[in-house]
Symmetry: C2
């Protein structure tokens, strides 16, 4: 009975890793749709969010069934509750990639992002993708060191978020209001995407190290060093 | 033993209602800080978010202890899992009120919101406050009809969100980029605040009616009518 339980727990873990793949692909393709003004790709990202939602409901149901049938305690219970949170974060990340793609679609055939911001947006997209890929490794390998790296990537994301505002607010901005609003929202979507990925990684670290996420926030390194 | 269990479940419900009060007060006072450029009130909202976070952790811990000690099944299990989600939504609503207050503080002694947008922002604040108050009633009284009302309020919020963009994008906008970005983000914060409140109410409706939130989305009325 316990073996079945741990098999099912592993399946939940695999689904979480699969979701990190899906939302990583979604944010990469959404960024591509945005930078290339590629309507077809934007539509593909928008449709693909259904698969993320399907996995979300399936994984949630599986976790819920496990709680009901097996009545786990201690660490097993903590793992399932953390899994329920991680899956909700991942589902939200799918929504955010979907929001990015919708802005690309809304402005097509024009580019939503003016030329001088494309490299910054590209870097936000790449950073988002890197963070979620690392979150996937953190889950798959219980790799706490990777979680430390990912926090540094999140600092990069925050710096890009600030940089983008500085460009929009500079005197040399000549694109008017609509692109300014688009990139403000886009920047917020990328930043939130990264925040949710950080939250996924922190929950896993909590399970592995027993340190609550608050204690680790801002300085995971110390917590890892103590192990 | 079961009585203790249900007492503790009631305590979780009371904490959720208390959190709706706190975040309702936070969004009201954040809106006030914003519209009056009131630094002291902005600081008060920012500090008060700690109390929301404290209640969040306490309620989460209580739900977690109940899961571990009582190993509930069926409806009791669903109630606790839903409670864990609702408390996470409410914590996030506290963050969003905090973000609104931070924009007020950042622009002080200036007003972040230009005169012609103040009535729209006021209405967004009032709508947010009304939605969260109704979410509190939905929880306190298991009032499914109130949840239907609240969906209509959320439609009002979405309309205000669109209206605000139209004003910022109109030819008559003369406040430049910084206020445009501030109000874009503010509008997003209010809209997300309302979305989380809707999510809280939907989870409660799910517990009461057994209809999954997806099935109700967009048309709670039908689900309620069928009861």
């Amino acid at each position: 009975m316990r073996d079945t339980f741990h098999d099912e727990l592993d399946q939940i873990g695999s689904s979480l890793v699969e979701m990190t793949d899906l939302v990583g692909s979604a944010i990469r393709r959404a960024t591509s749709a945005l930078l290339d003004a590629d309507l077809q790709m934007a539509e593909a990202v928008i449709s693909a969010d259904e698969e993320v939602d399907r996995l979300y409901h399936q994984t949630e149901q599986r976790a819920f069934d496990l709680l009901a049938r097996q009545q786990p305690v201690a660490l097993d219970l903590r793992v399932i509750v953390a899994g329920l949170r991680m899956v909700a974060d991942l589902e939200r990340m799918g929504d955010l990639a979907h929001h990015v793609a919708k802005i690309a679609r809304m402005r097509y055939p024009a580019h939503a992002v003016p030329p001088e911001l494309r490299s910054t947006v590209l870097e936000m997209g790449q950073t988002a993708e890197r963070i979620v890929a690392k979150a996937g490794s953190v889950i798959a390998d219980q790799d706490v060191a990777m979680a430390v790296e990912l926090e540094a990537d999140d600092d990069v994301m925050d710096a890009l978020h600030r940089k983008l505002f500085m460009i929009v607010l500079s005197d040399s901005w000549e694109h008017g209001m609509e692109p300014a609003i688009d990139v403000t929202l886009l920047s917020r979507y990328y930043e939130r995407f990264a925040d949710h990925a950080v939250s996924v990684a922190r929950r896993l670290v909590y399970l592995v190290t027993g340190e609550p996420p608050e204690a680790l926030s801002g300085d995971l390194t110390a917590a890892v060093r103590e192990r």
